[in-house]
Structure formats: structure tokens, C-alpha cells
């Protein structure tokens, strides 16, 4: 049973990690700067905004819904923040809060429209995509660009902690992870319910510790642990816990798996949807603010271009189903690493963006085909 759970549950993540390793090896063999500390640090800084947006997208995908307005919302939220702090002289922290609240309000409105009038989320958020893009232009005004240099907001993406702080974070993370994993084991043993074998748990803690230590080694041999990466990990871990350990998360999966069953179980399906869309838009705003901090400016193309598509493609590549009920917040991070690695690697090799788009499209298609094959195999075994 454990083996089967391992294969069916963690296999998707393992498959993606394997794919990332493969991509990294291929690019490293073509250009030995790819796996340098500086480039890996840059890679993580590059993917942070889109990964943050993807975290929110996962919530919508788990419900079997989609939010097409995330790109436009990320741009609009960033522009609201930029205008408030640069033109109106707001404190950066307050301006960031206002940006995130802008996203939350938009998500709330779209969620209410979607549930109240039973309009497909696809259409509501498509209208949102257009409208918020217009709002972005309006907020930015005639100049069309707001520079964030020296505004304090740029610290988000440009702060690096010294070596000792990085190690302290790693030690704390490993400690907490070990404590939670093994504590859960002891508790389950005590009450006589099935527990995963101790060996597997120890292995998991070991792998976690190794990853944390290697990551800090890499960051420290460049500029240090970036604040942006900490923020990203904070949101990923927070939402991972929210979706897997709380009633809210359980209900999210239930609504995505069988909305009618959830409704009959007394779950307020529409409220769940509104909350999920609010969180999704809020995360889009967080991602947009992070992107602005990294680019030192907000302009008319903020949140545009391929941001929306990549933010949705990432989690799907890493195994979150478009049909709802299956997936995880980790897939937002893993998918962003896949897409970011391809993009970063091809930039290093000086590929044209035409090639980049086609390769990324190919990877998305391949990932979805693999997922579809897995689903067909499940159905053959009588699993739906």
C-alpha cells in the first residue's frame, strides 16, 4: 500500500524533479556557467514572481476553475503600489499592502460574479483580463512608466542575507521539518493507526536537509540567501500546509473532486470558490509586486506578455490537473523551476525567443500528455 501511495502520490513530483535534473544537465553540458552559483541565484530570482502567481493559480486549478486575469491583476496591483509610493509618497509597506488589497478586492469581485451569476470563471476572468489591463494604463497615467529606484520597494528582490543568517535559516528549517515529521510518526504509533515506515521518514528528512544545505551553499557562494526566495518559500509552505492540513484545504480538494458531493456534505461550495479566487488574485498581486521590485519599475507592459500563460503552465507541467481535485502547491514552485530553467538556459545559449516559446510550448504539451496517460491508466484500473 505504501509503495502504491508512493508511486501514485509522489511520483508526479519525482517525475518533475527528474525532468529538472535532466534540463540542468543538458544546459550545463552546453554552457558550464549554467550551474554556477551566480546563475542559479539569478534563476531563482527570475522565477520568484511567476512562482508566486502560480501558487494562487493552483488554488483555482484545484477547484477545476481557471483565472485568466492574474497577469493583468499582477500588473495593476504593482502599478497601484508604485503610484501610491512614488507619486503620493506613501510608506512602501502601506503601498504594498494597498497593492495586495487591490488584488484581493478584484478576486472577491470576480469570485462573486462567477458564483452569483453562474458565469464560467473562464469568461469572468477573461473580461477581467481586458478590464484590468485598461485600469493599469489608467493608473500609470500619461508617462506610462513609474520608476521604483530608491523607493524601498526594490529591497524585496534585492536584499541578500549574510552567510550566517542563511545557515541559521537552514538549521531552523531542518529542525522544524524533522520535528514535525518524526513527531507525527510518534503520535500515530502511539494511537495505533497506520504510519509510514520510519525508514522512509528518515530518508525524507535526510533529503530535505541535503537540499537545504546545498541551497545555502550555492546562495552563500554568490550574494547570499535572497529575501525574495525566502518570501517565495514562505508562501509555498504556507499554502501547502493550508491545502493539505486544514479543513479549508480538504474542502478545496472536495469541491474540485466532486462539487455536488461537497455541497451535500454541507460545504459551502460557493464561499469556497469566492475565497479561492480572492486568494488567487491576492497572490497575483504579490507576484506582480515582486516583479516590479525586481525590474525596478512598473510600466505599461507589466503583467502582460506570456506571464499569464507561464503562470498557468507551470503548475500543470508539474502535475496539477486542469480538471480539479488533483495537484499541490509544490507544483507551482517545481513548474516555475522547469520553465525558468529552460528560459534561463536558452538565454545563456543565446537562443532566439522564437525557439524559447516553441520549446516551452513543447514541454507543456509533453507534460500534459504524460498526465493524460497517467489518468487513462487510472481509469483502466477503475480509478476515476
Amino acid at each position: 500500500m505504501t509503495l502504491r501511495r508512493f508511486l501514485q502520490g509522489d511520483l508526479v513530483s519525482l517525475r518533475v524533479i527528474f525532468a529538472i535534473a535532466l534540463i540542468w544537465i543538458v544546459f550545463e553540458s552546453q554552457n558550464d556557467r549554467f550551474l554556477s552559483a551566480t546563475n542559479l541565484t539569478n534563476l531563482f530570482l527570475q522565477i520568484t514572481p511567476v512562482a508566486l502567481i502560480s501558487v494562487g493559480v493552483v488554488l483555482a486549478l484545484l477547484l477545476g476553475e481557471i483565472d485568466l486575469s492574474i497577469g493583468a491583476v499582477s500588473g495593476l496591483a504593482a502599478s497601484v503600489m508604485a503610484v501610491l509610493t512614488v507619486k503620493n509618497g506613501w510608506d512602501p509597506a502601506l503601498a504594498i499592502l494597498a497593492g495586495v488589497l487591490t488584488g484581493a478586492a478584484i478576486g472577491l469581485a470576480q469570485g462573486l460574479l462567477f458564483t452569483r451569476f453562474r458565469i464560467p470563471s473562464f469568461v469572468v476572468t477573461l473580461a477581467g483580463l481586458l478590464a484590468w489591463q485598461g485600469a493599469l494604463l489608467q493608473v500609470l497615467g500619461s508617462t506610462g512608466t513609474v520608476n521604483l529606484a530608491n523607493s524601498g520597494i526594490t529591497n524585496l528582490a534585492n536584499t541578500f542575507y549574510p552567510d550566517a543568517v542563511g545557515w541559521a535559516f537552514a538549521a531552523a528549517a531542518i529542525g522544524v521539518f524533522a520535528l514535525v515529521t518524526l513527531g507525527g510518526y510518534v503520535r500515530r504509533q502511539g494511537s495505533g493507526v497506520t504510519a509510514e515506515p520510519l525508514g522512509l521518514l528518515v530518508l525524507r528528512v535526510g533529503v530535505f536537509a541535503a537540499v537545504a544545505i546545498v541551497a545555502i551553499l550555492i546562495f552563500n557562494s554568490d550574494r547570499g540567501l535572497p529575501l525574495a526566495v525566502l518570501i517565495l518559500l514562505g508562501f509555498v509552505i504556507g499554502f501547502q500546509l493550508l491545502t493539505t492540513r486544514t479543513t479549508f484545504g480538504r474542502h478545496l480538494f472536495a469541491v474540485g473532486g466532486n462539487a455536488e458531493a461537497a455541497r451535500r456534505a454541507g460545504i459551502r461550495v460557493d464561499s469556497m470558490r469566492v475565497v479561492a479566487f480572492t486568494l488567487c488574485s491576492s497572490m497575483a498581486a504579490v507576484g506582480g509586486i515582486m516583479a516590479a521590485s525586481r525590474l525596478l519599475a512598473v510600466n505599461q507592459s507589466s503583467g502582460g506578455s506570456d506571464l499569464l500563460l507561464l503562470a498557468i503552465a507551470g503548475p500543470v507541467i508539474a502535475g496539477t490537473s486542469l480538471f480539479g481535485g488533483r495537484g499541490s502547491v509544490w507544483s507551482a514552485l517545481l513548474g516555475a523551476i522547469v520553465i525558468g530553467s529552460i528560459s534561463n538556459g536558452m538565454d545563456l545559449l543565446a537562443f532566439e525567443s522564437s525557439v524559447k516559446f516553441m520549446v516551452t510550448g513543447g514541454v507543456l504539451l509533453a507534460a500534459v500528455v504524460v498526465d493524460a496517460i497517467a489518468r487513462m491508466r487510472r481509469q483502466e484500473q477503475g480509478r476515476v
Partner: protein
């Protein structure tokens, strides 16, 4: 038969969908420790009655009584709070969740301490309780952590019934519990229904299968075109009488059309 004395009864319950009168002045009752079969032709109003009692539909007229007291049922939660549990024909399970998650869906155990605020799940407590419950009901499944989508039809039905018992209900309604099940699986489910009666629950079974109805039911209530067409003691009735009531043949005045 029970008037308002049953654990659950309805008086003059009516419900229409547009021009269709699905239920017309229905008086119905079930007692504790009693299995009532609810039978009738397609469109007779069986499912509508069950869904009205379960709070899925709101009724147009009439009154529900629970343990003799008049009550209003305002949605699934209010029915559950009263102590009325329902197992639907389509089971209403989430295939992507495991057995424990399905059993506790909508009534999850929440951890104590600081986790209570975030409504953190108490998986250990839920798993323990699941083992206990499934054992009491002699339900056998590969593991309580199996995804429900991997279980057989009979296992899924038993999980659905077990799920309805978690809230310690007084009345359990089963909609077509043996439809689409093989012979051994049907036997398991019928045995489970008998165990519900032993637990002093009021059980309502909606079924097309008269053989099954006669096997487990104490009383058979027939609906025809939204109206009561008979209420029979299962021990003193023949299948012909029930079929007659279902089709309206016993009235012999052309109502069958």
C-alpha cells in the same frame, strides 16, 4: 401508522417543479428501529421526498415532525443537525479523496491547541474513528487511506453508509442502495441495513428492487404520481399487491395512464 409518533414524519408535504407536481400532500412516517421501503414508479416522487427531507429541496407546503416536534428543514446542514442522514444513489463521494477524508467530509475533526484557529485537521483522530466505525459495521476495505475511486461499487456503497452514521443520526435514508451492485455486494449492503436497524435507527430505503425491499423492510410505503398509494406491512403483503399499488392497477379506473 405512526401519526406524529414516529421518529420522523411528514404531514401534507407538497413540492412542484414548474407545472410538475412531484409531491402532493404526502404523509409519511418512520419509527426508530424500523426499516421502511419507499417504492414507486419512475417519477413517482421517491427521490423528491428523500431530497426534501434531506434539505436539498425546499418544500412548497406541509410540515416535518422530528420526534413528534414540528421542525423546519432549511438546507442539508439543518437536516444533518436534526439527525437525518442521507446516502444518495450516486453516493456523492469524492473519488480523489481517501476513505477517511470522505467519511469525515464536512465534519472533520479539528486539532486542539493553536491549530484550532486555522482549523487544522486531526488526521490521527479521524483515522482511529474510521477504523472503529468500519469495524463495528463489519465493512472491509483494503485501507482507510485508499482513494475512494479505487474501491469497488459495494465498498463505495458501504463507505457511503458508514459516512452517514458519523453524526450519530436517528434517521438514515438510502436512495437505491443496491442499484448497480452484484449479488454478493448486494448481500453485504442488505446486511449493513439490518445492522442499522439493530442500532435503533429509523431507516428509509428507496428501491426499485422489490425482492430486496421485501428482504430488509418492515413496512412498504408506495408513492404514485406524487401521492401516497399505500402503506403496507411487509410481512402481510404480497409482491402483487405492491406492484398493483405502484402501477395503480388496484384502482381499476384507468388511472394507470
Amino acid at each position: 401508522m405512526n401519526g406524529n409518533g414516529g421518529v420522523l414524519s411528514t404531514k401534507g408535504v407538497s413540492k412542484s417543479f414548474g407545472p410538475v407536481q412531484a409531491l402532493d400532500e404526502v404523509d409519511f412516517a418512520v419509527d426508530a428501529g424500523e426499516v421502511v421501503g419507499l417504492v414507486g414508479d419512475n417519477g413517482a416522487g421517491k427521490s423528491t421526498l428523500v431530497k426534501s427531507i434531506a434539505g436539498i429541496y425546499s418544500i412548497d407546503a406541509g410540515q416535518f415532525y422530528f420526534e413528534g416536534e414540528p421542525v423546519t428543514i432549511r438546507g442539508p446542514n439543518s437536516a444533518t443537525e436534526l439527525g437525518i442522514a442521507t446516502v444518495y444513489q450516486d453516493l456523492a463521494l469524492c473519488d480523489n479523496l481517501d476513505v477517511v477524508a470522505n467519511l469525515f467530509l464536512g465534519q472533520e475533526a479539528v486539532a486542539g491547541g493553536p491549530g484550532r484557529l486555522a482549523r487544522v485537521l486531526d488526521e490521527t483522530a479521524m483515522e482511529e474513528r474510521s477504523h472503529e466505525l468500519l469495524e463495528q459495521l463489519s465493512v472491509t476495505i483494503p485501507s482507510v487511506r485508499s482513494e475512494v475511486g479505487t474501491l469497488s461499487g459495494g465498498q463505495r456503497q458501504q463507505v457511503a453508509v458508514a459516512r452517514s452514521l458519523l453524526g450519530e443520526p436517528r434517521v438514515v435514508m438510502l436512495d437505491e442502495p443496491t442499484a448497480a451492485l452484484g449479488v454478493p455486494q448486494t448481500k453485504q449492503v442488505l446486511a449493513l441495513i439490518k445492522r442499522l436497524r439493530e442500532r435503533e435507527l429509523g431507516v428509509i430505503v428507496v428501491s426499485h428492487n422489490l425482492a430486496n425491499v421485501f428482504e430488509v423492510c418492515d413496512r412498504i410505503y408506495v408513492l404514485r404520481l406524487g401521492r401516497k398509494a399505500g402503506d403496507f406491512d411487509a410481512g402481510e403483503t404480497t409482491e402483487e399487491q405492491i406492484v398493483g399499488a405502484i402501477t395503480g392497477a388496484e384502482f381499476g379506473n384507468g388511472e394507470a395512464e
